[in-house]
Amino acid sequence: MLWFKWWLDTRFWFLLAVAMLAAQVLALYVSYPMDPQTSYPAGALGVLPAEMGRLRGDDFRGYVWVRWFSTTMLLMWPVYVFALAGTGFERAAGREYLLSLPVSRRRIIATRLAVVLTQIAAFTLLPSMLLSAMAPLRGQHYPVADAVVHSGILFVAGLGLFGLTIVLRTLLADAAAYTAAAALVGLVGLFTFIVDDFTPYSIFRLMNGAEYFFNHRVPWSGLAVSATMGMAFIWLSMRIVEARDY
């Protein structure tokens, strides 16, 4: 029943994420079609200026990628990940009662991670599937396969960010953890946007799936690095929790 406790703890942020992202899918379609010469975005996170030039006036697939996977999801997705990764075990209220249940600390955290990662997977995939489902309403087509692959890339690439938030939340007090994680992500985002030479190596470029969009190749090595970092952060966090006095 631990999963039920974690679901009750996290449902607000999960439902908010699904609702807000679904609303942004609707907004994306409401603003389409647009004149690509006058109102196309001037830039997007993790997209090089030359690539923006190529995309301007391109097909509907390019429009969705720039607006959704390179803008909305890169800006909003980390916010919900911060919120969900930070909810739960390290909250002082009720922690003693939780630890008095006949389960190990490892299982408590593992169950929480399973619930939260399922929620993150769901709010990554569901709005993107909505993109495909709604495309015909505007006389367009957006492949389901693209929605699934881009969501999968975003999810796995974001594991590093997720793990970082978990470990910061374990080590630092509430506000300090969120401030540190947000500052780090904001700094990397700013750097990615401003310094073109850094963009190809940025986590944001990995998360928006540029390699898949332009070359139809899944960036396996980048995803492996991010997933490994995420797992390492989670492992570290578990060890800290197991050794800690509460």
Partner: protein
């Protein structure tokens, strides 16, 4: 029936950086007893209970709770399956309702008592529709007691269980604890309290913890049999020699009268007082409060 002790520790110590919270605690709590642990703030009561529950790791020493080792992860789960805990943190899960907390809790405990759950929710006047976060401090404490009593546990580890309760609820909680032990002969209650009158009312064994050390660990009856206040009245000023008699813990003279707090050899002290010219000598029983003040060296009289 010869039951193993519910709690047994040897040389249990806990150090937080430079501060010693516990210094070699040797504790033996018989199964089926109500054990009251008393001590000043910072004496080590909460640390003791948290170590027994597995929330805090001891720096050294060993212990067993309901027969299982406190330093073993698998045993820790077994301890928690048979033990109910009410700690300092009464906030519970503030975003949840009573029903939600109960729904999450019940499946962990095969011997969960839904009959007691219902009975105590009513007796302790728990507002069941509100979220826990909107409860008063007293209602949170009372709900924590419901969760502990309904677990069907063999051991209740309670840290200041009546904290925040009004006098009516204090009475109901104390009655519930006594009843729980009466209904289940193997149930042990181990609780800490600042309220010595509560300990005196329900405990059959008492431990006095001071500065991380256990000063007393005895049955309350034996403690109170051993301790007496001897009051002797003289024709003149009482002789100073009485203050240094073996067994005299504390003396206070006032005019021609002297009051001696004795922890042993009461008959000898009475006899010596008479031998030294006391006109009248009486030995009175003392309260746990007197014994506690004497033990921790904070003599306010």
């Amino acid at each position: 029936m010869d039951l193993p002790p519910a709690i047994e520790t040897r040389g249990l110590s806990k150090r937080y950086k430079s501060a010693h919270a516990l210094r070699g605690l040797d504790l033996r709590v018989p199964a089926g007893s109500i054990y009251g642990l008393v001590g000043r703030n910072g004496a080590g009561k909460t640390t003791t209970i948290k170590i027994l529950m597995g929330l805090v790791h001891p720096t050294s020493g060993e212990g067993r709770v309901v027969g299982y080792r406190i330093d073993d992860v698998a045993d820790g789960r077994r301890i928690r399956r048979g033990t109910a805990y009410v700690g300092e943190d009464r906030a519970m899960w503030p975003d949840m309702t009573v029903s939600e907390v109960l729904a999450v809790s019940r499946p962990f405990f095969p011997r969960w008592r839904t009959d007691l759950e219902r009975e105590y929710l009513e007796a302790f006047e728990i507002p069941q529709q509100k979220r826990i976060g909107r409860f008063s401090k007293g209602a949170r404490s009372a709900f924590a007691m419901v969760l502990a009593l309904a677990r069907g546990a063999d051991l209740l580890l309670l840290d200041e269980p009546t904290e925040g309760l009004d006098p009516i609820l204090v009475e109901r909680v104390l009655q519930a604890l006594v009843r729980a032990v009466a209904d289940n002969p193997v149930l042990t209650v181990f609780f800490s309290s600042h309220r010595l009158f509560e300990v005196e009312r329900i405990a059959d064994r008492v431990g006095i913890l001071h500065d991380g050390r256990l000063l007393f660990d005895d049955s309350l009856d034996e403690l109170k049999t051993a301790y007496k206040r001897v009051v002797a009245t003289f024709d003149d000023a009482p002789p100073d020699a009485l203050r240094t008699l073996d067994g005299v813990r504390h003396a206070r003279a006032e005019g021609r009268m002297i009051a001696l707090l004795a922890s042993r050899h009461v008959d000898e002290i009475v006899a010596e007082s008479r031998a030294r010219g006391a006109r009248q000598v009486d030995a009175f029983p003392v309260s746990l409060n007197d014994i506690f003040l004497d033990a921790v060296g904070d003599r306010v009289d």
